[in-house]
């Protein structure tokens, strides 16, 4: 896909997410009004009050959930805006974990991210880094072939900012160097890693995986 085609996709997607936020705002405010009125009638006898209050609360929670998902997707759509930009590694990991969470859950894999307190700025393509991480995650999940967990931990202690991958659960031992290479996603990850100047390797201590970014902001 050409850069201008990607940019076109990003622009349309960002516009749609803005519209969806407006829809959620209308639902949120209308539901809030219902909740306000129910609260005002607290003293008056009212059939099905608890059910109505529960419904209003549930709508409020789902609106919050919807906003979170849409905001993440909006951010993802905007990650195409600039080929290279200053970007915080912590936010890339949070974003990628959030966007890949559902794919992983469908295959019984729990995906988690652990970020640093301080920002770790990289000068890179946010879109491509997200894609590289997602491809690696997909390869790991396929390799597991069953229930498990993946923890992606941001670290900045070893000279270059990086990510440590820890695998857990009954199928975690299946994730290993030779095994992931069988999946096409791994090839795509390696290709992107080379473009983005990301080095990577397997830890001998615990069989986990690590990668390092060499393009600091």
């Amino acid at each position: 896909m050409k850069a201008n085609e990607l940019a076109f996709f990003g622009k349309i997607a960002a516009g749609v997410t803005h519209e969806l936020k407006n829809v959620l705002a209308v639902i949120n405010e209308t539901n809030g009004l219902t909740a306000d009125l129910l609260a005002m009638l607290e003293e008056a006898p009212f059939p099905h009050r608890e059910k109505l209050q529960r419904s209003a609360k549930r709508i409020e929670e789902q609106v919050r959930r919807g906003v979170e998902i849409i905001s993440r997707f909006n951010r993802f759509a905007h990650s195409i805006d600039y080929p290279l930009a200053d970007v915080d590694l912590n936010s890339i990991v949070t974003q990628t974990v959030s966007l890949s969470h559902r794919f992983a859950a469908l295959l019984n894999v729990e995906l988690q991210g652990a970020v640093c307190d301080l920002p770790i700025m990289l000068f890179t393509s946010e879109f491509r880094v997200q894609m590289a991480l997602t491809k690696a995650i997909e390869a790991f999940i396929k390799c597991m072939g069953g229930a498990g967990s993946i923890l992606i931990k941001v670290q900045n202690d070893l000279g270059a900012p990086g990510l440590d991958f820890y695998f857990g659960g009954e199928c975690c031992e299946k994730v290993a160097k030779g095994a992931v290479e069988e999946f096409s996603e791994w090839g795509e990850f390696e290709e992107l890693a080379a473009i983005l100047d990301i080095s990577h390797g397997w830890r001998t201590s615990d069989g986990g995986f690590a990668l390092f970014f060499h393009k600091r902001a």
Partner: protein, 125 residues
């Protein structure tokens, strides 16, 4: 009746429900569905606080904010929009908005901003 709040938003269903919630809390809330109408209503007087959407057809929120501040109206502007955080600093520092909130916002956060606006208005009197 509390201070008058002008809600400027082209999403009429949103503005109506929001105005009713403010009215339930004792505020006098009115609605403008576009930038031009908002400026006209401001000229007629009454509103002390404006809750302003940024993306609207015709005159957008940024232009409304610029014109409000340029005209010298003593109105505090709270931005309430679906935009990302990148515009916040510009709206507050450069254009004089009180604060920026993200849609859909919690009513408690909006009331907190209204309270801040009231304090600033009182200090100015």
């Amino acid at each position: 009746m509390g201070v008058e709040i002008l809600i400027v938003d082209d999403e009429v269903e949103f503005a109506e429900a929001f105005a009713e919630r403010l009215q339930l809390r004792g505020f006098a809330a009115r609605i403008a569905s576009g930038g031009e109408q908002a400026l006209q209503m401001l000229e007629e007087g009454g509103a002390k606080i404006m809750v302003l959407d940024l993306k609207m057809p015709g005159m957008d929120g940024l232009e409304v904010l610029r014109r409000v501040k340029k005209s010298g109206h003593e109105v505090e502007v709270i931005i309430l929009s679906g935009h990302g955080p990148e515009m916040d600093e510009y709206c507050v520092r450069n254009l004089g908005a009180l604060t920026c909130l993200r849609k859909p916002a919690d009513i408690a956060d909006i009331l907190e901003a209204v309270k801040r606006a009231e304090k600033r208005l009182t200090r100015r009197e």
